[in-house]
């Protein structure tokens, strides 16, 4: 990543009107989540339980994965293991080539995004169609998703309208969401009916039964996987849950946290291929098993990808998904990205106000803000902060350690700064003042004011 979060965010906030629109759109989703969660009296018990199930599963992940494999094989489901993204992509391509697949339909899977599967398959001459409406929109535009649940949240309906004019020949200037959705429906039906194979992600893999669950609102996963003879599902190792009945906990939390719906339109349980077809599950690690080792970051593997932490994040809402430069944006993406490569994603732990709202809404109670706080310390310890910030913090630390000097510099600042011209106070060195006004300087420091008050009381 050549540019960090501040530089990329700058581009997004350059359009003030759109930035505020984006902020409002996400807050709307957050508000729906609040409403839905408040309607469930046992909400906190559900979160507690979900977090514990996930942690328990991670702590026993080797045995649960083996149990899943054994039970899946017994049901005629093929299992593959991929250590990294490259292996995953090779397995997919091999399966597709064996069946001479030319056209593939895909439902949403952040894992395949993470593995950069689409360009890999396209380079091998396979047509890949993302069938989630939001994903199809960004695929037309050659953009990555800007959100894990709402891939096209950064676009206005007019943007979608012009995109569809170009690719689906819709009426010029018509940006009515229903009209555009119907146009996509017709276009994608044709893709579904002509596909040679389908790929889906996995929301939950059930060790006890060897099957898996996919949740969608659009029905695209089921329509895609229900027609061709080959269905490949990619599953990160952390998607496993022990028992079928654990789904009660997770299905009650997922959609309410994601969009405020009581449940997704479809919660589909796959425990067999279609008639005369094949069902393959690829179990993917790609760095996940390394995260288990670190107790500070292990919890990030509990994530069920609901997007709630993203919707609530004051930084994400105002900086957009592309400012993160990582497949998954927002608080969860920042910690996962930093875990993957701290020097590449060194700005992400700082794309955070440490307000803790993410951890408060997370249905599996991941300590997201704490993780980002810890990543910051690693950034500093590894000398990745950048000269300017590093020097400022060094000087500040030194000053704060010397109360006399702190008092003196405070006094000087209060006396001098208000008299300086703007050009000096808001010079390039003042990073903080770039888009912000300094508050008016008080006459006294807190310490002085406190001493004076104490004097009065005596």
């Amino acid at each position: 990543m050549s540019q960090g979060h501040p530089e990329l965010a700058e581009k997004f906030i350059a359009n003030d009107e759109r930035m505020h629109w984006h902020d409002k759109a996400l807050w709307f989703v957050r508000a729906k989540r609040d409403n839905a969660s408040k309607g469930v009296a046992e909400w906190e018990d559900l979160r507690d339980c979900a977090a514990k199930i996930k942690m328990h599963t991670i702590d026993h992940l080797d045995s649960y994965l083996l149990e899943f494999e054994k039970n899946a094989l017994a049901k005629g489901i093929h299992i593959h293991w991929a250590y990294d993204a490259q292996e995953h992509n090779e397995i997919v391509l091999k399966l597709l080539q064996e069946k001479k697949v030319q056209k593939l339909v895909k439902s949403k899977s952040m894992l395949t995004e993470e593995c950069h599967l689409n360009p890999y398959l396209e380079a091998a001459g396979i047509e890949v169609v993302d069938t989630d409406l939001g994903e199809r929109i960004v695929q037309f535009r050659k953009e990555p998703p800007s959100h894990i649940v709402l891939p096209a949240i950064h676009l206005k309906k007019e943007d979608v309208g012009t995109t569809f004019e170009e690719f689906l020949h819709t009426q010029k200037g018509n940006s009515d969401p229903t009209y555009l959705t119907r146009a996509a429906r017709v276009h994608l039906r044709e893709k579904f009916l002509n596909a040679d194979a389908a790929m889906t992600g996995v929301n939950f893999g059930i060790a006890e039964t060897g099957g898996f669950v996919v949740c969608t609102n659009e029905g695209n996963a089921d329509l895609g996987a229900g027609l061709p003879k080959l269905h490949i599902a990619s599953m990160g190792i952390e998607k496993i849950i022990p028992k079928l009945s654990d789904l009660a906990i997770f299905t009650r939390l997922l959609a309410r946290s994601a969009t405020g719906q009581p449940v997704t339109s479809y919660t589909s349980h796959y425990h067999a291929p279609v008639v005369g077809g094949e069902l393959h599950v690829i179990i993917v690690d790609n760095g996940r098993s390394d995260i288990i080792k670190d107790k500070d970051f292990r919890q990030s593997l509990q994530c069920i990808r609901c997007g709630a932490c993203i919707n609530t994040c004051p930084v994400y809402r105002r900086s957009g998904g592309y400012s993160y430069g990582y497949t998954i944006p927002g608080p969860i993406g920042s910690t996962l990205g930093a875990n993957r490569n701290i020097s590449l994603y060194k700005t992400l732990p700082f794309a955070c106000s440490l307000c803790g709202s993410c951890s408060n809404v997370c249905p599996v109670k991941i300590d997201l803000d704490q993780q980002l706080y810890k990543h910051r310390q690693t950034v500093v310890a590894q000398n990745l902060l950048g000269f300017k910030k590093h020097t400022i913090l060094k000087v500040a630390t030194w000053v704060m350690k010397h109360p006399k000097i702190l008092d003196f510099s405070g006094k000087m600042a209060r006396a001098i700064v208000p008299k300086l011209p703007r050009s000096i106070v808001y010079s390039k060195a003042n990073l903080w003042g770039k888009q912000r006004e300094l508050p008016p300087f008080p006459k006294q420091s807190f310490k002085e004011a406190y001493q004076a008050k104490k004097g009065d009381r005596k």
Binding site: V40, K52, Y83, G134, D222, T251, Q261, H269, V274, K293
Partner: protein, 193 residues
Amino acid sequence: MNAKEKILANIKNNVPAIKEPMPQTNIAHVHFENKEEKFEAALASVGGNAITLSHESIDAFVAKHYPDAKVITSTIDGLTCKNKDANEQDTPHFLEDVDLAIVEGEFGVAENGAVWVKNPKNKHRVLYFIAQRLLIIVPKGALVDTMHEAYERVKFNTSGYGTFISGPSKTADIEQALVIGAHGPTDACVLFV
């Protein structure tokens, strides 16, 4: 080492010595005084509707409410309104022209308007998604409060496919505007019989 061995060895190496026990999952949860009412309201909130049939037949109901449906198929025996056999061919693509699919659901879930649909007699699972409109027949009174009771009834000892369907297919991917009828059925009615 192959990928599987590498992954499992890495996990084994990295998991902590003190492990989280499996928690109790049967947590205390809500019970509704009137499950029917709650189910109807929940389903309405996601764009679906629920109707209880009194003495009318399913055929009469269909004639009245789906006058435009030309191709009608069903997994239920004995319906006269049905004019296409959903299991006729081994490849499901012939179902693409289905206007109305009348299918069986086992029970509804009051808290979220979902119906559990799992029918080994239905050859093509895509039927629930490819039909333009869906009518789900559920036995009168077959309602549970929440997903907790629902999963007490869901079993996958053998292979198969099953899905909870809560209303019609929908999307809000264009500027958060809710549009009913994304890829799957544009309407989904639950009929208690």
